[in-house]
């Protein structure tokens, strides 16, 4: 046997160390949701007691783990959880000198409607507890899971500096568990991300074809032809509408085909930007993968929440159907989204499909690979996209509206952070995507806000008096999308604003509400004009491409986010919507969510919609020759003109 060369041996040692390092890192993540003593057959290898250990049967060597992983498994071990907390508190308190004069503070820490005195050393997570705000965390507040993202609206300088683990957060975002009060003489304000926005959950109740992928045969559970589990008492699926600003999740019973539970919440990726292009840029930076990780963590948190609320075992969830625009969908699947941000603005899946490497743009994957907290053999189906930025959510709209079989001229306008339009006339279908931006969802407008409590949602002018209604009928704090549209229309009708957004008397701002002061500035109007112009261009250019006039449109479906609350007359008056007879305008609420459910329950619909997608032509707005002129026209607050 020859001697071993020490240098050569060192290389092997380095290789082994690298392999093991990856393993150790992954084990840290895996053990956030699964006890590390539990082996692949769900048996317990621990030598200490745990309340989930079943007694050993004579023919077995290891006890079964009866945990459904709903609880933090550490609390089930023979340990003393109270002593953990005591120890942690003690260590925190010993860092603080009780004679420190900064302790009696002049400053406060507050969130919406709640305030407490500022105390040096106390974390914002502690304050959230005191305020009874629900903030998710699955790492015991150690800064690892990154689920407790909060937004600091005032007093960032009074908090301790950002920890290394917070490096991925920009500007006004922090982790609640890592941000503690450092200077208590000034005020600090923060807001927790998931509030309870007035978001639409599906409203249509069409009869559904039933042909799900997961079925029960006797005591077995099958995914198509594959045996994946023993029947546990139920078969469920999740339909997720992954919007840029808002996510809706529905739990569906796949045996009875009924939706059982619905929840909607803010998309947690806002720290990476409020629109798709910003998030793509963020993902190109040093924190690639962060948007994906944060999203998965939040979805898992909601899955746990749903399971708790419905008392349903998470392991009975066997399929997830996900609809969303290409960027949102690809971030979910942890794919590289950079190609969507650059000409020709296509996702990697679309490129592969066009090159013949894939037969569909739909993605089917094991949930296990994405570390989703459902049955370990469950699948996730990412609905196919149409083209470029027009994605699975529009596909879902088409599924539920059955647009393809409708006769006459039909237009679908799905309004959101991005607006998509689909127009069918004769046997041609065209589509375009308009990056409206966040102006109508609360971004960029001084007093703009999403559809939360306190938002002005409608405005009318009666006898020279401006009257408004707020969500929740409380004192107004801002104006949401539908309110902004009403406001602009009202200002135009009463001639207090020109189509170019100039106020009467050349004022810099228009006062909507004098007390508390809510105004609309010229700059706000300008942002809204541009957002509206995007919507305008999409509809105008598609209509022109098929030679369709507003009078010839038989039905206009208005879908998405705040669309259900929009007043069509106001929308038409300012050029936000094409001037179609209001009796032909049908509001369909969150049809994407409904479509996701239908795809979940029917494999045939998944196949059928592919044929429809194949017929749709995508029109790229920017390459239209006179796009700029149309956009400029579209910026004016007046109805669309078709010559």
């Amino acid at each position: 046997m020859d001697k071993i060369d020490p240098e050569e041996y060192e290389k092997r040692v380095a290789r082994i160390t690298s392999l093991f390092s990856d393993i150790v890192k992954h084990s840290e993540t895996q053990s956030l949701t699964r006890c590390p003593y539990k082996n692949k057959d769900d048996r317990c290898t621990a030598s200490f007691g745990c309340r989930y250990k079943s007694p050993i049967k004579s023919d077995e060597s290891l006890p079964q783990c009866d945990s459904d992983d709903l609880l933090d498994y550490r609390s089930a071990w023979d340990t003393h959880p109270e002593s953990y907390e005591k120890m942690r508190q003690q260590l925190q308190e010993t860092n603080l000198n009780p004679d420190d004069p900064r302790i009696t503070s002049a400053g406060t820490v507050s969130t919406v409607h709640k305030t407490l005195p500022a105390k040096v050393g106390k974390t914002l997570f502690d304050y959230a507890d005191d305020f009874q705000l629900s903030v998710p965390s699955s790492c015991g507040r150690m800064g690892q899971c990154h689920e407790c993202i909060i937004e600091i609206t005032e007093g960032m300088e009074s908090l301790c500096p950002k920890a290394e683990t917070e490096a991925f957060l920009s500007e006004s975002f922090r982790l609640a568990c890592q941000s503690s009060v450092q200077h208590s003489d000034k005020n600090i304000c923060f807001s927790v991300l998931s509030r309870s926005p007035q978001i639409l959950t599906a409203t249509q109740t069409a009869t559904l074809d039933r042909d799900p992928t997961v079925i029960r045969k006797g005591n077995d559970v099958y995914y198509q032809d594959e045996l994946i589990d023993q029947f546990r008492g139920g078969i469920f699926g999740l339909a997720i509408d992954l919007g840029t600003s808002t996510i809706v999740m529905e739990l569906v019973n796949l045996q009875s085909c009924e939706a059982i539970y619905t929840c909607s919440f803010e998309n947690p990726q806002r720290f990476g930007g409020s629109d798709v292009m910003n998030r793509i840029s963020y993902d190109a930076g040093p924190f690639r993968g962060k948007l994906h990780r944060v999203l998965i963590n939040t979805l898992n948190d909601k899955i746990f929440h749903i399971a708790e609320q419905t008392q349903i075992d998470r392991r009975m969830i066997y399929e997830i159907v996900l609809v969303g625009n290409p960027t949102m969908r690809d971030l979910f699947f942890n794919l590289d989204v950079q190609s969507i941000g650059q000409r020709p603005y296509k996702s990697s899946m679309e490129h592969a499909f066009l090159e013949g490497k894939r037969t569909t743009t739909a993605i089917t994957s094991l949930t296990r690979k994405l570390r989703l907290a459902v049955n370990k053999n469950a699948r996730v189906f990412g609905a196919p996209i149409i083209a470029s930025h027009v994605g699975g959510d529009i596909v879902a709209d088409l599924v539920t509206l059955d647009l393809a079989v409708q006769t006459g001229t039909v237009m679908l306008v799905d309004v959101g952070t991005n607006t998509e339009v689909v127009l069918k006339s004769g046997n041609r279908m065209v589509t375009a995507s308009c990056p409206a931006g966040p102006a109508f969802e609360g971004g960029l407008v001084t007093f703009g806000m999403p559809g939360y409590e306190g938002a002005i949602e409608s405005i009318t002018y009666q006898e020279d008096q401006l009257t408004y209604q707020t969500i929740g009928d409380v004192k107004p704090t801002g104006i949401c999308g539908s309110g902004l549209i009403d406001l602009l229309a009202t200002l135009r009708r009463s001639e207090q604003m020109t189509p170019m957004g100039v106020f009467a008397d050349k004022a810099q701002a228009f006062t909507v509400v004098p007390e508390p002061r809510i105004t609309l500035s010229r700059e706000d109007a300008s942002h809204l004009a541009q957002a509206k112009a995007a919507n305008y261009c999409g509809q105008y250019i598609l209509m022109r491409s098929l030679g369709v006039t507003p009078e010839s449109i038989d039905k206009l479906y208005l879908a998405g986010g705040f669309a259900n609350y929009v007043d069509p007359e106001s929308a038409i008056a300012i050029g936000f919507l094409a001037p179609v007879d209001t009796e032909r305008i049908i509001k369909v609420g969150n049809s994407a969510s409904q479509g996701a459910k239908e795809l979940l329950l029917s494999q045939k619909k998944r196949q059928d919609i592919e044929k429809v997608i194949a017929q749709i032509e995508h029109i790229e707005l920017e390459t239209t020759a006179d796009f700029f002129e149309i956009f400029v026209d579209g910026c004016q607050f007046k109805p669309m003109q078709f010559v």
Binding site: M1, P6, V13, F20, V24, K40, A46, T79, S83, K86
Partner: protein, 250 residues
């Protein structure tokens, strides 16, 4: 171009088919396994299966047949561990399985160690590892041991529920200069302090360096107990041990 069928070991072929989905990883493993001798393929398969007895037997046999030690490591032990890493990352297997595979790797390395000595390659250092008295949690400790051995340390594992006397006896018997202690319960954490005091009483404190870890342990606590270092992960554990060795040599 090599194909899956060029791999002679059937179990490896099955594993790749069932568990390796990324095309580039599949290709890499197919290349790796197909060009290895069948005897070494069998070792890799046994590593993946976590079968330490087979790895033991086959490694001994391969070395007796004069196959070079580095080749046995590359194509047998490390090749197997690479697949284990992939399966773990994709959540097909979990920590208990990984530890079984690491144990199998240790069984193979046992036969390579004499050759390392003969080549003048010594262990980087010697470490005694144990979970303190009254505490039965061992996964963190086991992952640290896996990393230490992988990095070239000789590790004596005292297991769980280790008393101060057990630590002292081990240090004396093996003449080990590094002791690593783990605790997962706040009620057993103080035993770390007790052990260090026992070493002071036995006049052995200056002969060893203590590193401690475990979920409830903090740097402040480690300091209060009189430990020399605190590590919050298995990876850091190796860095600390290396630091101890470096300062001892200087």
């Amino acid at each position: 171009m090599v194909e899956l069928t060029d791999i002679q070991n059937t179990s490896l072929r099955q594993e790749i088919t069932e568990y390796v989905e990324k095309v580039n990883e599949r290709q890499h493993l197919i290349q790796l396994y197909s060009k290895a001798r069948p005897d070494l393929q069998d070792i890799a398969a046994a590593i993946v299966a976590g079968d330490h007895e087979t790895v033991d037997r086959l490694t001994e046999k391969a070395l007796q047949e004069e196959i070079q030690a580095l080749e046995v490591m590359d194509d047998g032990l490390i090749a197997g561990m690479a697949l284990v890493g992939i399966k773990f990352r994709e959540n097909f297997i979990f920590v208990p399985e990984v530890l079984a595979c690491a144990r199998a790797m240790k069984a193979g390395m046992k036969h390579i160690e004499p050759i390392l000595s003969a080549s003048g390659i010594k262990p980087v250092g010697k470490v005694i590892m144990g979970t303190v008295k009254g505490d039965l949690h061992d996964i963190g400790k086991n992952l640290c041991i896996m990393m230490l051995r992988g990095a070239g340390f000789e590790v004596i594992d005292l297991g769980v529920d280790t008393s101060s006397d057990d630590f002292i006896d081990a240090v004396e018997e093996y003449e080990a200069p590094i002791v690593g202690m783990s605790a997962l319960l706040t009620t057993t954490m103080p035993n770390m302090g007790k052990t260090i005091e026992a070493f002071i009483d036995a006049d052995l404190r200056d002969d060893v360096k203590f590193m401690v870890g475990g979920a409830p342990v903090t740097p402040a606590f480690a300091d209060d107990m009189g430990a020399d270092a605190y590590g919050d992960s298995a990876v850091e554990c190796v860095d600390i041990a290396k630091r101890f060795v470096a300062t001892a040599d200087s």
